[in-house]
Structure formats: structure tokens, C-alpha cells
Amino acid sequence: MAGITGKDAVLTRYADSLATLEAPKGRSLTQDAMRRLVRNKAAVASIFILVVVVLVAFVGPYFVPWGYGQVDWTAIRKPPDFAKGHYLGTDQNGRDMLARLLQGTQMSLVVAFVATFVSVTIGIVYGAVAGYFGGKVDAIMMRFVDIMYALPYILFVIILVVIFGRNPILLFVGIGCIEWLTMARIVRGQTLSLKEREFVEAARAGGASPLTIIFRHIVPNLTGPVVIYATLTIPEIIITESFLSYLGLGVQEPQTSLGTLISAGSGLAEALPWMLFAPAIMLVLMLICLTYLGDGLRDALDPKDR
């Protein structure tokens, strides 16, 4: 008879509690990685600073009283002057340095993201195709990568930029087209091991075409290495862009980039030090944060060192 010992009631309550209680949560690999990343103080601080820099670079210009190409005839070569709204001083043409700094940061960021996107896309497609098809295709495709590796790539960027004019779009694409080599190698290596796994075999048995297998089954599994490498590519591209701008091959006036600003400021650093300091600090700050973030992501997503 039910209810004498109270056993049934306890069991029912227990069964009810099991039904309403959510299943114990397993942690996915991504959640695991996020937890490790959040525990890395340097990486979290870097993310925070980078978000602030991006916001300031893109929203800031609307709050600055001067335009980046606007000349203030009453304040040429002046140190920071809060009354007039030149918070970082003016350059030798009387243009507001804060406005120019923000525009330059914006340009460097855009170049970096577009070029990284181009290089990551080319690298993934190339590496995945070479790794998946293997054999002769792989040998020929990777031989080509070896050839490109052996070339002094900066010479090609310089030749391209000199020849086809200083077009910012060309600059993005040109840098991106050259930085994909390492990405392709990493992706190929990962693909080689992924394509032997059971889920790829299952897809093949199910009649999926090679392209579907590559893009639906293999590429999503490459997220980790791709994210790490992309984060480490961004600072490299920012340096390349500022180097080209420094040589006078980058962005054209009145637009500017951090490299152009540093190049302009370095010649006048004795007389007008504020022209060198602000862009230099901004550049170094961004590069440090991106490097720490890349390191943090690598430790979080690829925890074999712990």
C-alpha cells in the first residue's frame, strides 16, 4: 500500500526533482577555452583596451572640434592647447593632431582587418584544398608556397605599390595576398590529420562532395588555429603598413595612418615632440595588446603546454 513508509513519496519527489532539474552541464571545448582566456589577466586587459581604441578611433572624430584635413591658421606648430581644442597640439601645417591621430588609427585598423581577412580566406581555402586532395595536388601547391616563402615579399609589395599607385585598396589586398603563406601551411597540416577522422569518412560514405566536406566538415574544425594565427597576423600587418607608409609608399595626404604620422613626426621630433609621441604610443599600445591577446588565445585554445 502506497504511502505507509513514505518511501514512495520520497522517491516521487526525487523523480520529480530529476525531471525538473537541468541535466548536469558538460563544458564544451569552447567554454573551456573561454574560461582559460578570462582567467588570463593580460589578455582580458588587452581585449578591453582594444575595444576602447576601436571605439575611440571610429566614434571619437565626431567629438573632436577639428577635422583631420582642416587647417587652423592661427595655430601652426603649436603644442597642446586646451582653450582652442587642440588637445594634442597641431602639426607643421596647422592641422589638429588629435583628429589626425584618430583618423590614422582608423586607417591602420581598417588596413589590418581587411588584409587579415584576405590572407586568412586565401590561406584557409588553399591549405584545406591542398591538404584534403593530397598527393600530386598537395605537392605542387605546397611547392608553390615554398617558392613564395623564399621570395623577399616586402620587395614585391614595394614593387606593386610603386607600380600601381598608392591606392589604399591595393595596399590592403597586396599585403593580404602576401601574408597567407603561413596560414596555408598551418591549415594544410591540420587538414591532413582531420581528413583521416571518422566524421569525414562518414560524410564521404554519405556521398558528400569534396567541396562540401572541406567547407562543412573540415574548415569549422580549424577555428582554433585560425583564430590564433589571425590575431598574431594583425600586428604584423599593422607593422608592414606603417613601414610602407614610413617609406612614403602608403596612404596619401590628407588621409593618414599611424606609419605616416610617425614618419612625419620623426623628422620634427626635436622641435615638435608631440607629433611623434602620440602616434608612437598609440601604435605600440595596439601592438602590445594584440600580441598579448594572441598569446592568451593560443594558451586558451591550445592548452598542451599546461
Partner: protein, 307 residues
């Protein structure tokens, strides 16, 4: 060993050839030419100039003339520095660039390996934190910016070292360029060395060596260094090409007479012969150095040889 080296040399030759062809085509497709100036040349003069440099012939014929010349070791005349042949100009610039590059290479490798080892051995104690911070600075501050800073500090304010320029045989003119050129390399090598050394120090054979009573120094010297060096050695090849790229900047900033300076001015003035010549030279240097690194790698790791 010799068979391995021969195979590598033979596989490197087509690379130079393909790259030369690509460069040639890109350069000629480009608008502008070496004789464009503020004032247009009279048509008759231009015609004679183009005939002299073979520029009036069809492109494929120019290509074969050029390749034929290169195979005989003749890079043709410079079209802007009209008193010199390309070979002469490169003969002036090359020894300097090589000297600068190798000095920086030795400095960077030595400093990088030592700091990498120190940071690994003192992991998470103050020498580690200090050096890792310095390495980070070396890694992220672009060399043109760092060059400006050291020029200002040591050249202009303290007046210890010359800001730029070079007189043959002068040592002090090389101090700043070598520091600037080797700093990012030293930083990269140091990071690699730290990572691999920490890994090696955690392995069982190191623990065994420690447990039989060897001191830290002996463990490092006899057991840990060789395996920890492997990633560094494989980085040296790409590292060298980074060094040559860097020397382009450093030569420009410190006004040094190497081939990097010629390359930039030549590209800007469409001096076809000089651009192609310097590009080939850079490629050959990088390929030769990569080859040397590969052979060293094969010597260190017998598994590579059989591939």
C-alpha cells in the same frame, strides 16, 4: 648528406628562375618608365635611348636578352645611374649589406638564445618578468620607430654615437644599425627558446639528470640545450629573410650604402635593370642561407635527411 644538399640546390634553381620571370612581367606591365621626367624627352632622343636599352623590341625578345645576360653574369646597365652597370652598383652595396646582416644575425642569435634560456630557468621569478617585458618591447616596437628613438637619445642628446652615415672601416657607425636590426630577431628567438626550453626542462630525461645530482649548469649544457635549440634552428631560415627585409629599413633610416637603399630608389624611378638585379640578389642570398640552415638542421636531426 651531400646528396641531400645537392637535391636542395637543384630544387632551389627553378625558384629563382620563376621569380625572375614574375618580376620581369610585373615591372613591364606597370605604367611609367625610366625616362619619364618633368619634361618629356624629344621623341628622337627617347627612340635612341629605348633602342640602346633594347626597350623597343617585343617583350619576349627583351626577356630572352635579359635572361641570357643574367646567365652569363651580366645584369645589364642601370637606366637611371647611367655611369654604372647594375653589377657594379651591386658590387658596391652587397658587401656592406652582408656584413650588416651577418653581424646582426650573430648578435640576435646569441642574445636571443641566452635571454631565452635565462627566462626559462628563472621562470616566473623577477629575471623572467624583467626580460620578458624587454623582449615584448623589442618584439612590438617597429624598427623604424625604435631607430628614431635611439637616434634621438644616443645620437642627438647624449652624442655618444653617430646618427647615421658610414665611413668604411668605422665601427661606431655600425653600433646603432646593428642594434636596431637585431632587436626584433633577438626577441623572436628569445620567445622561441623560452618556450622550448620550458618544455624540455619538464621532460623525464632532464628529471633523471637532475635526480642523479647534476647541477643546473651541467643539466643545461649536457642535456637540455641541444633539443631546446631545434625550433630556434628551424626559425633561423625565415629569420634571415626578416633580417634582410629589416636591413632595407635600417639602410634607409641610417643612410647606409647597402643594396636596400638602391632597391627602393630604383623601384621609385623604374630603373628596370637595377630593380631586377637587386631582387635576384636578395632571392639568391635568402635561398643560399635557407639551404645552409636546412643542412644544419639535417645534421642536427637525422629524421629530416631521409625525406
Amino acid at each position: 648528406m651531400i646528396a641531400y644538399a645537392t637535391r636542395r640546390v637543384l630544387s632551389a634553381l627553378p625558384i629563382v628562375f620563376i621569380a625572375l620571370t614574375v618580376c620581369f612581367i610585373i615591372l613591364r606591365l606597370a605604367p611609367g618608365g625610366p625616362f619619364d621626367g618633368e619634361r618629356a624627352l624629344p621623341p628622337a632622343v627617347l627612340k635612341n635611348l629605348e633602342a640602346y636599352y633594347n626597350l623597343d623590341k617585343p617583350l619576349w625578345e627583351q626577356y630572352f636578352i635579359y635572361v641570357g645576360g643574367v646567365l652569363r653574369g651580366d645584369f645589364g646597365p642601370s637606366m637611371v645611374n647611367t655611369d654604372f652597370s647594375v653589377s657594379q652598383l651591386m658590387g658596391i652595396g652587397l658587401p656592406f649589406t652582408l656584413m650588416l646582416g651577418f653581424t646582426a644575425f650573430i648578435v640576435a642569435t646569441t642574445v636571443g638564445i641566452i635571454t631565452g634560456m635565462v627566462t626559462a630557468v628563472y621562470q616566473n621569478r623577477w629575471p623572467d618578468y624583467l626580460l620578458v617585458f624587454l623582449v615584448m618591447i623589442g618584439l612590438v616596437v617597429p624598427n623604424f620607430l625604435m631607430a628614431n628613438i635611439v637616434q634621438l637619445v644616443f645620437g642627438v642628446h647624449l652624442r655618444w654615437l653617430p646618427v647615421g652615415g658610414y665611413t668604411p672601416g668605422s665601427f661606431i657607425h655600425l653600433v646603432l644599425p646593428v642594434i636596431i636590426l637585431s632587436l626584433p630577431q633577438a626577441a623572436r628567438i628569445s620567445r622561441l627558446m623560452r618556450g622550448s626550453m620550458i618544455e624540455v626542462l619538464g621532460t623525464n630525461f632532464v628529471r633523471t639528470a637532475r635526480s642523479k645530482g647534476l647541477g643546473t649548469r651541467l643539466v643545461l649544457a649536457r642535456h637540455a640545450i641541444k633539443p631546446a635549440m631545434m625550433p630556434v634552428v628551424s626559425y633561423l631560415g625565415p629569420g634571415l629573410s626578416y633580417l634582410l627585409t629589416g636591413s632595407l629599413v635600417v639602410e634607409q633610416i641610417f643612410a647606409l650604402p647597402g643594396i636596400g637603399k638602391y632597391f627602393i630608389t630604383a623601384a621609385l624611378s623604374r630603373d628596370y635593370g637595377l630593380v631586377l638585379g637587386t631582387t635576384i640578389l636578395y632571392m639568391v642570398i635568402i635561398l643560399v642561407l635557407n639551404l645552409v640552415v636546412d643542412v644544419i638542421y639535417a645534421w642536427l636531426d637525422p629524421k629530416v635527411r631521409s625525406r
